[in-house]
């Protein structure tokens, strides 16, 4: 913790070129072309293919005079073996630029493939911070959910199938050259995924804001994400109005810009081993953990609470105690309103695994920037409460 804390006044902020707007998926071809690509390795998934979005991207690539290879052999919580197979396909076809279209799984798979084709070896060689030596091929990422933030982040999360745990790869190299969001793609996202990915964005915003590496450059984006989510999440889930869905896309982008530069905390440190062990939905795991981790963190982040409460629309006088309650209430009310799962038991977590999950979380890179230090017993207590 000491290193992180002592660098607090020094801040770094990096985001890729960002393009955001309805209908802009048609610009993917020109983006890939201006990065110097000729043969695109397009990573996406079958759901997006059936919804017609992959076809739209293929048309855009053809219109830009680019040939492409389509790769969709990836699953939820993308696996090391899928990444390694993708890298072989990339070489087999002589691709020279990568486009990732999808949620966190497709985009993190695209990042993983990009790492391997320029750095070689196995994907687990790059686990942890700053293991990547050679620059990646040109990379364009297009999110089609409203939560991952992978399109702007310096992280890739891949499942290690031997250890049955998610590994976090962290490097400025894995941020793409271009992040392109077309909020129209949310129209075909099933209700369930609107909920779970938006709760992922909420966790990103909260953890980024309380991170010991947060700065004014990240806080403004974290607060904006939370404002947009409190304004539009319930409506977007219930009514699916285009404006509310666009606000969720926008919230995801703001939250991604925040956490990519301030990193995260205990929610994500715990969510990674849980996701790896049970192949559980990442947003659902976050939704369950967030209220408990917030309760754990709030006593040590009192200085930041009035600003957050103010950001969430609280018009009181900004006393710390009422701000803390207000923040906790806002998050729990929001999660209840959209019917997010509220217990680890309900998503298949086995009580006997809790000590092992806590031990794995202590090794996750996300724990480093938690505002409140935690040992194994602290993490076990949080998991028990959320069980």
């Amino acid at each position: 913790m000491d290193n992180v804390t002592s660098n607090l006044q020094h801040c770094k902020f990096e985001v890729p070129e960002i393009i955001f707007g309805r209908g802009l998926l048609s610009q993917i071809g020109s983006c890939a072309r201006r990065l110097g690509g000729h043969k695109v390795f397009l990573v996406s998934d079958q759901g997006l293919f059936h919804a017609g979005w992959v076809d739209k991207v293929m048309h855009s690539l053809m219109e830009a005079g680019l040939s492409f290879i389509y790769y969709d052999q990836i699953t939820c919580n993308p696996k090391d073996v899928e990444i390694e197979e993708g890298a072989r396909e990339y070489f087999r076809h002589g691709a020279d630029v990568i486009v990732g279209l999808g949620g966190g799984s497709a985009m993190d798979a695209a990042k993983g493939i990009a790492i391997l084709v320029s750095n070689g070896g196995r994907i687990r060689d790059y686990k942890g911070p700053d293991k990547i030596i050679r620059p990646l091929p040109p990379l364009v990422l297009c999110p089609t959910t409203c939560g991952t933030g992978s399109d702007v982040s310096q992280f890739a999360v891949i499942s290690d199938t031997e250890l049955r745990c998610k590994m976090t790869i962290m490097s400025r190299c894995v941020a793409p050259d271009i992040s392109l969001t077309d909020p129209d793609t949310l129209e075909t996202l099933p209700d369930e995924f609107v909920c779970t990915t938006a709760t992922d964005a909420l966790s990103h915003a909260m953890e980024a804001f309380f991170s010991v590496a947060s700065t004014s450059l990240t806080d403004v984006h974290a607060i904006k994400a939370m404002r947009l989510l409190t304004k539009s999440l319930v409506n977007a889930v219930r009514e699916r109005t285009p404006d509310d869905l666009e606000n969720l896309s926008r919230a995801s982008l703001h939250a991604g810009m925040a956490f990519s530069n301030s990193l995260l905390g205990i929610v994500h440190a715990l969510a990674h081993p849980i996701g790896g062990l049970y192949d559980a939905n990442h947003g659902s795991v976050n939704a369950i953990l967030l209220p408990e981790v917030l309760r754990y963190d709030i006593p040590v982040v009192t200085e930041k609470l009035p600003e957050l409460a103010w950001g969430l629309g609280h018009t009181g006088k900004g006393e710390t105690s009422s701000s803390g309650e207000m923040v906790q209430d806002t998050v729990e009310t929001l999660l209840d309103a959209i019917g997010a799962p509220r217990s680890l038991r309900s998503i298949g977590v086995v009580r006997e695994d809790i000590p092992d999950l806590a031990r794995k979380a202590l090794k996750d890179v996300c724990i480093v920037t938690s505002p409140r230090e935690a040992d194994e017993q602290d993490l076990i207590r949080i998991l028990e409460k959320a069980f």
Copy 2:
């Protein structure tokens, strides 16, 4: 105007790699080296040399194993001839990376030199939007004032000595690779320049927020800049406390991130011809124009006023009329408190020149994103009121 307005829902956001923190000037050498440079063309000014900051940079470059050429033949509102001479010096010494250390003048001069050494010709060939074809040499910019925003912006403003007008060069190419701010450098900035450059940041934030090209990505930074300025400007000027000075540095950075992506408005469109004709201080000109342009703009930006008033700490219920008054009052009170000049007459503007200044402003690229359209007569009226 139509083109800009019709693209409103499509947003682009690009900022360079940002490094911010006290004492970080010592990192310039490693920044220049990792961009691939061997021989640095260091652009700065005599004031910074005498204050010891240039020496600090030179040491950092030497420690990183880089040789360098020092160029300080630039004046306030840097002139085309100075840029062209700088480009010849760059070639004469075989430099391959540029570091700009200073206020807007030194940094815009560094940008201008970078344009010429890779694109050739005369600097006026690049006036207006998107005239630059070839990528610039690696560029690191370090602001030592609290206003320009040139260290993150896609603009360079150079004085055309034949036309006696400032020209605005606008291109994504002119944003540097790295923006490095060391707020310690403000310690030696004379009071007068703390005032004038901070009022430039205030104008950037206000115009960026009301620009027709503003988006949620730029608004969060504009509002943060205004919050920091309302909190720290008066104290920084009166007491020169390090924390308040750092807040001004930070405000300048946030405002720069906003206006570089949302562009500006009438204040800057008018300030450029005035600065060019009288070689007047840019921040002083902005301080005089801002209250009048705000009065002109407020009737058409009513939708955004409650958010701005809220951002400025107004705890009322957000009615449009009171928000407008609050914003106008806050700005005028702030400018009065720091003793900013309040009339064009006081800085040497000649009344007979007003029609010509209005005509030149209509051709400035900044007018395009003004929230309220303006013809020659409108601009004359604004100038007369500010006279």
